[in-house]
Amino acid sequence: MPQLDVTTFAPQIVWLVITFLAMYFIMAKVALPRIAEVLDERQTRIDDNLAKAAALKVEAEQAAAAYEQSLAEARSKAQDEVKVVIDQANAAQAKAQEELAAKLDKKLAEAEARIADAKDKALANITEVSADVAKATVEKLSGVSVDDAAVNAAVAKAMEQN
């Protein structure tokens, strides 16, 4: 078995030491730092980008909140304005209605006054006419001429009893 040939041990071990030391120095000084650098750079980049993304997300949320707030403000402002307009319209309508009602009341009062006037006048005429009719009736029936004052008093008394 060639593995047990002791004379080959020395050259194998010598070259193993030489090549392995070379390997170690190439790895430790050149190859591994390069890989580590690239991996670190990538990790840093990823972390940076994640941080940036988080910051942008916060910013976007703030912008959305501001938008919502301004929207709500605009909405409430618009509602207020609409309310003012409606109130004004309501007030104007109420005022117009009031005026109209007052005007109508006044006309109604006038009309009632006129009616009362006419009624009074008619009632006054009725007394006179009744006195005339009563006087004429008494004269026709009894042939007695009654004086006006007595007739008037009698009529007034009769009317009061009615």
Partner: protein
């Protein structure tokens, strides 16, 4: 080509070198080691050449091997293991690519030699022990005294603990060496049957070899992984003791 299934493990000197009385010849094993270092370096350094933020396929594989070993070290050793990450990464990649390149036809698998695996395992063993002593001083030796055991049992258990500790480099090196040697020998044994069995009968060992090739890729990865994980576990033991 010899039909001897063990011929593939033969060490052939290419350039004879002798340095201070030590035979330091450049052999086919040394070629495989140099090739492994070159391939790993090219794979990682050129793969990261573009340093792209969004990696391509090659860069992804380089990054994947980095994070694979980094996760392994973090899971098994914790934060104190960061310091030792380069050495464990080098071990893992060295053994992994040594195993993979050894699967190429006509190439040589240096991890199939016990001299190599035992040297690596001893380096891990000595390094881990020294780290333990440096961190804990003499307190490190309480590692051999299991907790919650009656004092009467200690004369029995302490030697067992010491033997189990000392056998770590042996099991670590034999596991890798034996797996690689057995797998390559099996492939060679079945391959040697293909041509003698002729056009009709040769298909059976050929099919076995195809399956074994896939299996050997799994073993190549698994053994490199096991070696690295056990190194992490030993390191964790000497950093945290029990």
């Amino acid at each position: 080509m010899s039909n001897n299934p063990l011929h593939q493990f033969q060490i052939n000197t290419i350039v004879p070198v002798e340095f201070a009385g030590i035979d330091a010849s450049f052999t086919n094993s040394a070629v495989a080691m140099v090739a492994t270092v070159a391939v790993v370096s090219i794979f990682l350094i050129m793969g990261m050449g573009s340093r792209a933020l969004v990696p391509g396929r090659w860069q992804s594989m380089a990054e994947l091997s980095y994070s694979f070993v980094a996760d392994m070290v973090r899971d098994n050793v914790g934060n104190e293991g960061r310091k030792y990450f380069p050495i464990i990464f080098s071990l893992f990649m060295f053994i992994l690519f040594g195993n993979f390149l050894g699967l190429l036809p006509y190439s040589f698998t240096f991890t199939s030699h016990v001299a190599v695996t035992f040297t690596l395992a001893m380096a891990v063993f000595i390094g881990v022990t020294l780290i333990g002593i440096a961190r804990h001083g003499l307190h490190f030796f309480t590692f051999f005294v299991p907790g919650g055991v009656p004092a009467v049992m200690l004369p029995l258990l302490v030697p067992i603990e010491i033997i189990s500790y000392l056998s770590r480099p042996v099991s670590l090196s034999i596991r890798l060496f034996a797996n690689m040697t057995a797998g390559h020998t099996m492939m060679k044994v079945f391959a040697a049957f293909i041509v003698p069995l002729g056009f009709l009968g040769g298909w059976a060992p050929f099919a076995v070899d195809v399956a074994l090739t896939g299996f050997e890729f799994l073993v190549a990865f698994l053994q490199a992984y096991v070696f690295a994980v056990l190194t992490c576990i030993y390191l964790n033991d000497s950093i945290h003791l029990h």
